[in-house]
Amino acid sequence: MDIRTKLEEQTLTIQLCGELDHHGAKGLMERMDALMERDLPRKTILDLEQLRFMDSSGIAVILRAKRRMEALGGNLVVVNIPKQAARVLDTAGLGRYVKLI
C-alpha cells in the first residue's frame, strides 16, 4: 500500500494507492496518524481514486482517521471512491458517520 500526500493551506490530502486490506492497514494507520500529528491539518482529504481494492479493514482505517481529525478539531472527507470500495462502505453504512464524496 503506497500513499501520496500533499499539504496545502492546512488541508492534508492523502492519496491511497493499491490494495487496502488487513495486511497493510496497520502500517497505513500509523503513517496517517504521524502525518496528522506533524501537519496538524484543519481538514484531511482521503483520496481513494487509485485504490484498486478495499475490504472491511478499510472501514476501521477511515473511522480511526475521522476520530483523529476530530481530536485535532478538524474534519475528514473521503473522495473519489471507486465502485468496489463504495459497495463495501455502503454495506457498512459508513455514510452516516463520515462524509463520503
Binding site: D21, H22, H23, F53, D55, S56, S57, Q84, V88, T91
Partner: protein, 145 residues
C-alpha cells in the same frame, strides 16, 4: 461440462497471503466470465473470510488455512474457507452487523459483507476446533443478463 472444476489451496495464516487468496479465487472464477463488479464481490468476500481466519482463528500463532473454489452446476461458484483455529462460540451472534471481538482495528462488518456480496453464506464452527465458511454466488451467463 460434467466434471465439476475446482481448486484447493492451503497456506499459513500470514497476512501477506490475503492478497494471494483473493487473487487466486478471482482467477479461478474468471472461467465463468464474470463482470468486473462480480469479480470485485468475489474478491471482497474471500478477503473477509481469509482475514477472519488470520486475525480471529489464530490470534497468536500461525495456523493452516484452506481455500477451495468450485464450480457447481448452473454456473454457481462455491467458495470455502476453512481453519482449524479457536472457533466461534456463538455463530449467530458473530454474524450480526457490528459484532466484533477484534477491538478498534475491526468493524464487525465482515460477515455482513460476505452475506450481502454473495447469494448464500453458511458458517459452521466449533470452539477449539475451527471454522468453515461456505459461500455461493451464481454468475449469470452474459447473454442472459
Amino acid at each position: 461440462m460434467n466434471v465439476a472444476n475446482y481448486i484447493a489451496i492451503t497456506f499459513p495464516s500470514c497476512s501477506a497471503n490475503e492478497g494471494f487468496a483473493r487473487a487466486a479465487a478471482a482467477a479461478f472464477a474468471a472461467q465463468l466470465d464474470p463482470t468486473l463488479e462480480e469479480l470485485g464481490d468475489i474478491k471482497t468476500a474471500v478477503s473477509e473470510a481469509v482475514t477472519n481466519a488470520i486475525v480471529h482463528a489464530y490470534p497468536d500463532t500461525i495456523g493452516k488455512i484452506a481455500l477451495k473454489a468450485k464450480i457447481l452446476e448452473g454456473d454457481v461458484l462455491e467458495l470455502t474457507v476453512r481453519d482449524w483455529g479457536r472457533g466461534i462460540a456463538d455463530v449467530e451472534k458473530a454474524r450480526e452487523p457490528l459484532f466484533t471481538t477484534g477491538g478498534e482495528e475491526r468493524s464487525g462488518m465482515g460477515f455482513t459483507i460476505m452475506e450481502s456480496f454473495m447469494d448464500t453464506l453458511r458458517v459452521t464452527s466449533k470452539e477449539g476446533q475451527g471454522t468453515k465458511v461456505v459461500m455461493r454466488r451464481r454468475i449469470a451467463k452474459r447473454g442472459r443478463r
